[in-house]
């Protein structure tokens, strides 16, 4: 395997190679693929047992998932796939980054919504929105500059807020020993209820509206650019790919990433090699949580600025939870997260179509759950895969084995 071949360079850019592992372990790619395949097979059985035709179900599911081009509905499906995936990739990256540092940031959900509400606020708040509105008018045909700036400000502030929300959990962890899982999960509910039960139904609701209508709508200048008319596909997918690259760069090219991964490798109780070498472990953990929160919050910004244009009263939790699955399927590598996010996005996009054939939407959730389940069983999957490969090798080269056995 030549280190400099084009393919390898490509894979390396996207982080398949985690810095200098000599023999890139092909199992890291095979395990998620096999887990997904197993999930699809078991999913088929489940559908069949429920008395429905699994082939028809899958034909509908994947036919309308946006993955397969063709048909008049395809552009819309493709757009939906990418819009959904962008958010799952964002939360997936957040969780993957924390995993790399040895922490389970289960709080991506809360950070997502903190990002969303802050982006909403700066999207409509008149001092900001008004200023950019005037700017757009003044610029005339160059109004896109105002849109670019306003959108960027909303996303940046949303990300900072989500990052701070996560960093607070990190701070509690390093200073007070609050378990990160407990800390982030608590902060999830605090964020969620503060936002949905107070902000969205109270101070951020237009006075003329009823309390069920959600917040003010963001100004046009805050909305993400649409990049494939007439669909609502927006720049979120591009931004999230940049974020994936940035995450990879952070992990594998910077001093911070070097330290984060060292901490992650030694996060088991009592391992203190990085600390003994003078790495400020506590500071890095807080920083890492901050970056992680920024990534999750980015997804929340997409939700508002790319899809809803307000914080709706009907928002339901789940983006952060989905991110856990995405990070697991993606093996916590940025490129893996991107691919896993697209896979989950496809399942969610195609799910609606299955209903036409009287197949409940939840079957796609079952497949998702099964895929994560098989990933969780990856030790077993690895074990049987290695055994299978060994048997094949023994088969291909029998004399040595027999000689040894004799």
């Amino acid at each position: 395997m030549s280190e400099n071949s084009g393919t390898n360079k490509f894979l390396r850019i996207f982080g398949i190679d985690s810095q200098g592992r000599k023999r890139r372990d092909p199992l890291n790619v095979w395990v998620p693929l096999i887990s997904i395949a197993l999930a699809l097979v078991v999913g088929m059985i489940v559908i069949a047992v429920s008395g429905r035709n699994p082939f028809r179900a899958y034909a509908l599911l994947f036919g309308d998932s946006g993955l397969i081009p063709g048909g008049s509905a395809w552009p819309r499906e493709f757009a939906e796939l990418l819009i959904k995936s962008a958010m799952y990739i964002a939360t997936g990256l957040a969780i993957a980054l924390a995993f790399k540092g040895g922490l389970f940031n289960i709080g991506a959900e809360g950070q997502f919504w903190v990002g969303a509400i802050v982006a909403t606020f700066f999207g409509y708040w008149s001092p900001v929105a008004g200023a950019f509105g005037n700017m757009a008018t003044a610029l005339g045909s160059m109004a896109w500059i105002a849109q670019l700036l306003h959108g960027a400000i909303c996303i940046i502030l949303g990300m900072l807020a989500g990052g701070a929300w996560a960093a607070f959990a990190g701070f509690l962890y390093v200073k007070r020993g609050v378990n990160i899982v407990i800390g982030t999960i608590m902060l999830n509910w605090i964020a969620w209820f503060l936002i949905t039960n107070w902000l969205v139904t109270g101070p951020m609701t237009p006075p003329t509206q009823t309390f069920t209508s959600g917040t003010y709508y963001v100004a046009d200048t805050a909305k993400l650019f649409r990049i494939m008319m007439p669909t609502r596909l927006n720049t979120s997918i591009i931004l999230v790919l940049l974020a994936a690259y940035a995450t990879w760069f952070l992990l594998y090219k910077t001093t911070i990433g070097y330290e984060i991964r060292a901490i992650g490798h030694t996060a088991n109780i009592g391992m203190e090699a990085p600390r003994a070498q003078g790495i400020n472990v506590n500071r890095r953990i807080v920083q890492m949580m901050f970056f992680s929160g920024c990534l999750a919050a980015m997804g929340g910004c997409f939700f508002i600025l790319g899809m809803q244009y307000q914080f709706p009263n009907t928002a339901t939790m789940g983006y952060g939870w989905t991110g856990i699955g995405v990070a697991l399927i993606g093996q916590s590598e940025p490129i893996g997260v991107v691919l896993a996010g697209l896979f989950i996005g496809a399942l969610r996009t195609g799910a609606t179509s299955m209903q036409v054939a009287n197949i409940p939407k939840t079957f796609s959730n079952i497949i998702e759950g099964l895929a994560v389940g098989f990933i969780a069983l990856q030790v077993a999957v690895r074990y049987y895969l290695v055994k299978f490969l060994q048997r094949r090798r023994a088969h291909a080269d029998p004399p040595a084995e027999q000689e040894a056995a004799a």
Binding site: K253, T254, T255, Y258, T266, P274
Partner: protein, 507 residues
């Protein structure tokens, strides 16, 4: 009768033939030692005999019957028992509970603790191993804990006992106690396999000795027909000078000093009490002491892991009492740890990535935020050659190296940091003869180049051979200071145990 025989055992790991066609047999009632350097395949072999690994090829005979050992349960069925290096004891259980765990006496559906205590007492009387059956295991000294482990194995009916480096965690006195126990077991007809790399001990206790090198049996010798030098030669394949040469160096200014230092351990007990000493450039100061007399806490304070409760600490004239590890390292401290897995290396990281940890923020290894892995690789390649770190591929993980090579990697890293004060905490623990010699040579080179070195060790020969001054630590105090030419192992040993120490000073 042959209690145990292995024939043509081989074990292949990916890319590594750990055991290569090993054959030997052990007579009933014999103490049979297996010696070899770290990574020679001793542990693999024991794990095969005990059913934890499946051999790639070969057969095992127990009591001259072909045995199929596929798991530790199979081995126990065949009356084999393993005393592990890391004890498999539950610290909060009493001795009796630990001994019977897994095969508890019952009264109906309830655990019959009274009977467990009685059984354990009877058993320990039978093999004359005194141990308090009702004591909490975690409170006992390591040597006694090991007895608990042995009792556990005996209670399961073990006739063949495997001791995997049992002395690694023991003090010299505890080792002697263990040998007394082993002889007693032998006299009761038990067969013992003793794994070690300490030649002196092997010569002390074994009847016959098998030497392993790179997975192969180099020879099986009778104890009375051999000597330490011959065994060492067989182990490393060349003559090893176990003598430590004297190196003279001119003594420079004080690099590190501490005054009336007091440190508490994690449980809040003061384990370092009023410790004062200084270390000058060009000298090695040795701290001798039985494990657990405050050395760990002293080191923790010196490397910035715990804050001393009082006293002062100075490195190159600057107060270092309240600073971080990073600051200490910037001021010129290097640290070689005995605990390579916990503190020394990030095991899943490559040799390359480990080689610069601690100086990875310095040029040329990084510029600003950006790591320069090419420069780091270049540096690591150089160090791998200079320190002969094997197998020599910088993209291998640190965890895949043998103990000796891991220690070489730590030395390479710590000695290449800009430093003038080196803390060497049990730098040869768990190392084989070759690697130990290497560490000694490096420490002496350091001394010659004018570095100040603090050596903490449990090995008296090491303290006496390397140190210019010796401090003896006992119950948190420095109870004596001497020089190697004015003392002997015996005299030091007595001081280490607090004999002749004014009790008023101590309490």
């Amino acid at each position: 009768m042959k209690a145990l025989e292995v024939r043509n055992i081989s074990k292949m790991f990916p890319g590594n033939l750990a055991n290569d066609n090993i054959s030997f047999s052990v007579e009933k009632g014999e103490i049979f030692a297996i010696v070899g350097e770290n990574g020679a395949g001793k542990s693999t072999l024991m794990n095969i005999i005990y059913g934890i690994y499946t051999p790639t090829a070969g057969e095992i005979y127990v009591n001259e019957q072909k045995a199929r050992i596929r798991s530790a349960e199979d081995a126990i069925q065949l009356h084999m028992g393993m005393v592990h290096q890391e004890f498999m004891l539950i610290p909060r259980f009493t001795v009796a509970q630990n001994v019977v765990v897994g095969d508890e006496p019952r009264k109906g559906i309830f655990f019959d603790y009274t009977r467990a205590v009685r059984e354990v007492k009877e058993l320990s009387d039978k093999v004359s191993m005194t141990v308090d059956a009702t004591a909490i295991t975690g409170d006992l000294p390591v040597g006694i804990q090991q007895r608990v482990e042995i009792l556990k194995v005996l209670r399961r009916g073990a006739e063949i006992l495997i001791f995997d480096e049992p002395t690694a965690v023991l003090t010299p006195e505890e080792t002697q106690d263990l040998f007394v126990t082993m002889r007693k077991l032998q006299s009761q007809g038990k067969t013992i396999l003793f794994i070690s790399h300490k030649l002196k001990e092997v010569m002390d206790i074994a009847d016959r000795i098998a030497v392993l090198r790179r997975g192969k049996v180099q020879g099986i010798v009778n104890k009375k027909d051999t000597n330490e030098e011959e065994l060492a030669r067989m182990m490393v394949g060349r003559n090893v000078v176990l003598e430590i040469p004297r190196v003279e160096a001119s003594v420079g200014p004080v690099a590190f000093s501490c005054h009336d230092l007091r440190v508490k351990n994690v449980r809040g007990m003061e384990t370092v009490r009023d410790v004062s000493f200084d270390v000058r450039g060009g000298e090695i100061v040795g701290i001798a002491g039985v494990q657990g007399n405050g050395q760990d806490e002293l080191v923790n304070a010196m490397i910035g892991f715990t804050r001393p409760t009082s006293g002062s600490m100075e490195l190159n004239g600057k107060s270092m009492r309240l600073v971080t590890t990073a600051e200490l390292r910037r001021q010129g401290m290097s640290y070689i740890t005995e605990d390579r897995a916990r503190r020394g290396l990030v095991m899943p990281y490559t040799v390359r990535d480990n080689s610069v940890m601690g100086q990875h923020l310095n040029a040329p290894f990084s510029r600003g935020l950006r790591m320069d892995y090419d420069k780091i690789a270049e540096f690591a390649e150089g160090k791998v050659k200079e320190y002969d770190i094997r197998p020599g591929d910088v993209t291998d993980t640190a965890g895949s190296l043998s103990g000796g090579n891991q220690q070489k990697l730590i030395l390479a890293r710590e000695l290449s940091l800009p430093h003038n004060f080196l803390i060497a905490s049990q730098p040869t623990r768990g190392l084989d003869v070759g690697a130990t010699e290497f560490v000694y040579r490096k420490l002496l080179e350091e001394k010659k180049s004018g570095k100040a070195i603090l050596l903490i060790s449990l090995e008296l020969s090491e303290i006496l051979g390397l140190s210019d001054r010796i401090l003896v630590m006992f119950e948190g105090h420095i109870v004596g200071e001497t020089t190697p030419d004015k003392t002997t192992e015996e005299a030091l040993g007595l001081l280490m145990l607090g004999v002749g120490v004014d009790r008023k000073v101590v309490s």
